[in-house]
Amino acid sequence: MGYGIGTRLVEDFLARSCVGRCHSYSEITDIIAQVAFKMYLGITPSVTCNNSSRNEFSLILDKNPLVEFVEELPAGRSSLCYCNLLCGIIRGALEMVHLAADVTFLQDRLKGDSVTEIGITFLKKPEEKKYRRKK
C-alpha cells in the first residue's frame, strides 16, 4: 500500500518542491527528511548515518503524526508494524527515481522503544544508464 502511494507521491513532491538532482545518498536522505517529511507530515526527523560506507542511514522521528491517537497496539497484534506505510512510501518514491533501497523500521515507539527509527539502506549505485538523467 505504501509502495503504491510512494510511486505517485514522488511526482507530486518533485512538482511542488523545486529540488534539483541529488549527488549523494546523504543528500537524498537529507532531502527526504527535511523537505518531504515536512511537506507531507509536518515533522522533521533527524538523520544519522549508520554505516561507514555511507550506504545506510536512519531517520529518527520524535513525533509521529500517524500514531497520535494510538496508545498501544491491539492485543494479539504485538508484532504489527503500524507505520510500515511510511517505509513503503519511501521505497516506492526512491524506486521511481531509479534508486533501489531497503527501508525498514529499526525502532518503534509502539513496541516499547524510546524513539521511532526508520532505516534506509541503499542497495546499489544508481545504474549507469545510457543517459544519466536523475539520481
Binding site: E11, D12, L14, A15, R16, R132, R133, K134
Partner: protein, 232 residues
C-alpha cells in the same frame, strides 16, 4: 493562439496525453471548374497538392472538404474516391477546401516516440555529463519546449516563438498532472490519461494554457485522441 500543442510522454517513450489547441491558419476554399489546374496526388491516405500553387493553396496542402462536406482521407463522405470524383467533369463546378493536413493520432504517437529517442541521443551527445536533454527546439514558426522530470516523464509544449513564460507553464502542467493523474485511484502509471472534457481539472488545465485572457476562443476539442486509442 499562443500555445499550439501539449504532449506528455512517459518513461518508455509512449505518448500518454496530447492536446492540440490551434486552428489551422492556412486554409483556402475555392470554386473550380473542369479541368482542375492543380495537380493532385495520393500520398499517405490523403490527397495532396503536388503542383499548381496559387491563391493561398500551396504545395503540400491536403483536400479537406469538397462542397462543404469533409473528406475522409482519400474518400469523400459518400465513399467515392476523391481523385475519381474530381476527374469527372459532371461533378463540376465544385468547391474544394485545401489546408495543411492535421496529424492523425497514430502519427502523433510515432512522432512522440521519435522525439523521446532524439531526446536520449541529445543527452548522450552532450560534452558534459548529466545533461538535461533537449530543452528547447526553435524553428521559424514555433518553439518546442521540453521539460523532463526526475522520474522520466516529459512534458512537451509547442508554442509561438514569441511566447514567454513557457517554463512556468511546464511546471504548472507537471503540478496539474501530479494532482489529477496521480491522485486518481483508477489511473495506472505510464498509461494514457483519459480526461473528461467537463471535469473541473480539465478546465483548469485549459485555463492554464491561455496566458492571455483575451486570446481567441479555444473550443474544447477532442484532444483525448490518444486516450481513444487504448481503452484502459
Amino acid at each position: 493562439m499562443a500555445i499550439f500543442s501539449v504532449y506528455v510522454v512517459n518513461k518508455a517513450g509512449g505518448l500518454i496525453y496530447q492536446l492540440d489547441s490551434y486552428a489551422p491558419r492556412a486554409e483556402a476554399e475555392k470554386t473550380f471548374s473542369y479541368p482542375l489546374d492543380l495537380l493532385l496526388k495520393l500520398h499517405d491516405e490523403r490527397v495532396l497538392v503536388a503542383f499548381g500553387q496559387r491563391d493561398g493553396i500551396r504545395v503540400g496542402h491536403a483536400v479537406l472538404a469538397i462542397n462543404g462536406v469533409d473528406v475522409n482521407g482519400k474518400y469523400t463522405a459518400d465513399g467515392k474516391e476523391v481523385l475519381e470524383y474530381l476527374g469527372n467533369p459532371a461533378n463540376y463546378p465544385v468547391s474544394i477546401r485545401f489546408g495543411r493536413p492535421r496529424l492523425t493520432s497514430n502519427e502523433k504517437l510515432m512522432l512522440a516516440s521519435m522525439f523521446h529517442s532524439l531526446f536520449a541521443i541529445g543527452s548522450q551527445l552532450s560534452p558534459e555529463q548529466g545533461s538535461s536533454g533537449i530543452e528547447m527546439l526553435e524553428t521559424d514558426t514555433f518553439k518546442l519546449h521540453c521539460f523532463q522530470t526526475l522520474t522520466g516523464i516529459k512534458f512537451v509544449v509547442l508554442a509561438d516563438p514569441r511566447q514567454a513564460g513557457i517554463d512556468s507553464l511546464l511546471r504548472k502542467i507537471y503540478e496539474i498532472y501530479s494532482d489529477f493523474a496521480l491522485k486518481n485511484p483508477f489511473y495506472s502509471l505510464e498509461m494514457p490519461i483519459r480526461v473528461s472534457t467537463g471535469s473541473p481539472l480539465y478546465l483548469k488545465w485549459r485555463k492554464s494554457l491561455r496566458p492571455h485572457p483575451l486570446s481567441s476562443f479555444v473550443p474544447p476539442g477532442p484532444g483525448l485522441g490518444v486516450s481513444c486509442l487504448t481503452r484502459i
